[in-house]
Subunit: 249 residues, 2 copies
DNA sequence: CGAATCCTTGAGTAATTTCAAGACTGGTGG
DNA sequence: CCACCAGTCTTGAAATTACTCAAGGATTCG
């Protein structure tokens, strides 16, 4: 077929982006979105396993995930990998690098992933002229700060079942925020990666998933997860430690 | 003694503040600091156990810790408290509330603590006029984001000894950043609170402290901590899991 | 000085980790 | 299109570790 489409035609712009309300353009006027759009670079999708950037690499841009998913990881002194988070469409990546000159962590695509690259120097300049954009950047950073904090809550839960319940609800919420089903979704990462994130070994992950399925809280088919009993999962995740509520499932 | 000093005289200003380089004034011109100073409110110290703000309370200001220390906590559904962080002089608190209208967490003074209160609406307006100030706010948020992330690293460490080693090194670094001793310092929080933060029960905290002291890595006198063998602590915190290096202590 | 809180210590239990090995996938190449 | 291969996932049994429960002792703050 004849390809007469220019690059810009096949690539979306901020104004028409479904994720606009989650991203930098939120609250911006049509004109301001146009200005932002002019500095946003939309490259071809990043292949599964490829780096968006690596730890130690010079920081130049932040990235907004458009489709796909990304894991953020750091290499520990002993050679182990620690996964500090997973990024889904609408998330903005690289904000932790602003304060230093270099990226503190590595961003790896978990599947074919398309991102918008926003050169930070240009964003900063544009923000000087467009207060609304600047405010939105700050709001997004505040949002990320909040998200990171709740990760802390997650990891101090002792029981593996609790940690899994909490993280599943968090993903559920994130999918729902994008208008997807809160009860049926596909986890983009391997159990290995999810376990690493939660501080649990793969064996425990496997057993914990199975236990929740046996209790009738989940239905699992590979990476496809269905939350069968939301109430019970919430009770397990956020309810009392004694299990009084959860035991009623 | 005769008190003729006005309130403004007994209270410092941003320009003369020792913590200036860690805080919002960093990188600002003398004039800009003056403008910032004019919106900063310096109240009398907050007593030990008093709230700077409570979760759910309307967000109006961010706070910079000048002296003392603060713990950030949230109440879980089961009634338990979760401590998400500790704030020392130079830290800016409340940034996680910008995105929502209310504070997501409660800030409690761990000792008599003095803070600078910065009304956020005014800071935002001022930031619109002073790009350098705006950039500095973003840098501080990026710094906080980075700090929160490394909390995640901390909490995925399985062993209690590792978690304690990591958190002690983090405090050591923070004290050093303020020009204090990196090897001898006073932890402002109780073992209870520190354990809560680390996801460990008080009994485990007690035993773990004692074990590190017996191994000759620490010297402990109440809240006063001395790091005796930095290398061994670092090996324990960041070295390999097998303990090959740490065992040589 | 006195009460409240915090810290310590001990013994037993429950949980995850470790070690080992087999089964399953999904992607690649013939 | 099928077969292969590497990585992923599962399962079992033993070992380690932190948690729970209980109670006494030490600090600290008012």
């Amino acid at each position: 077929m004849t390809r007469i489409a220019t690059l810009s035609e096949t690539r979306s712009n901020c104004h028409d982006c479904r994720l606009r309300s989650l991203c930098l353009p939120d609250n911006l006027s049509k004109e301001d979105i146009g200005e932002l759009d002019s500095i946003v670079q939309r490259r071809k999708p990043v292949a599964r396993g490829a780096y968006l950037f690596q730890a130690g690499q010079r920081f130049n841009s932040i990235f907004a995930v458009r489709t796909g998913s990304v894991k953020a990881s750091t290499l520990l002194a002993n050679g182990d990998e620690h996964i500090s988070g997973f990024h889904l469409p609408g998330d903005v990546i690289g904000l932790d690098a602003i304060v230093s000159r270099d990226h503190p962590s590595t961003a790896i695509a978990l599947e074919s992933t398309s991102v918008c690259e926003i050169p930070y120097a240009e964003l900063e300049s544009l923000g000087d002229r467009l207060p609304t954009l600047q405010h939105q950047l700050v709001r997004i950073m505040s949002r990320e700060l909040l998200a990171e904090q709740s990760t802390g809550h997650l990891l101090t839960r002792r029981a593996a079942e609790q940690r899994l319940a909490v993280v599943l609800l968090k993903f559920s919420e994130r999918f729902a925020n994008r208008g997807l089903s809160a009860l049926r979704f596909r986890l983009p990462m391997s159990r290995l990666d999810l376990g690493n994130y939660l501080g649990l070994v793969p064996e425990t992950m496997s057993r914990t998933f199975r236990r929740l399925e046996e209790q009738g809280l989940l239905s699992i088919a590979g990476k496809e997860i269905e939350i069968v009993d939301v109430c019970a999962i919430k009770a397990l995740a956020y309810g009392n430690n004694e299990g009084d509520l959860a035991a009623k499932a």
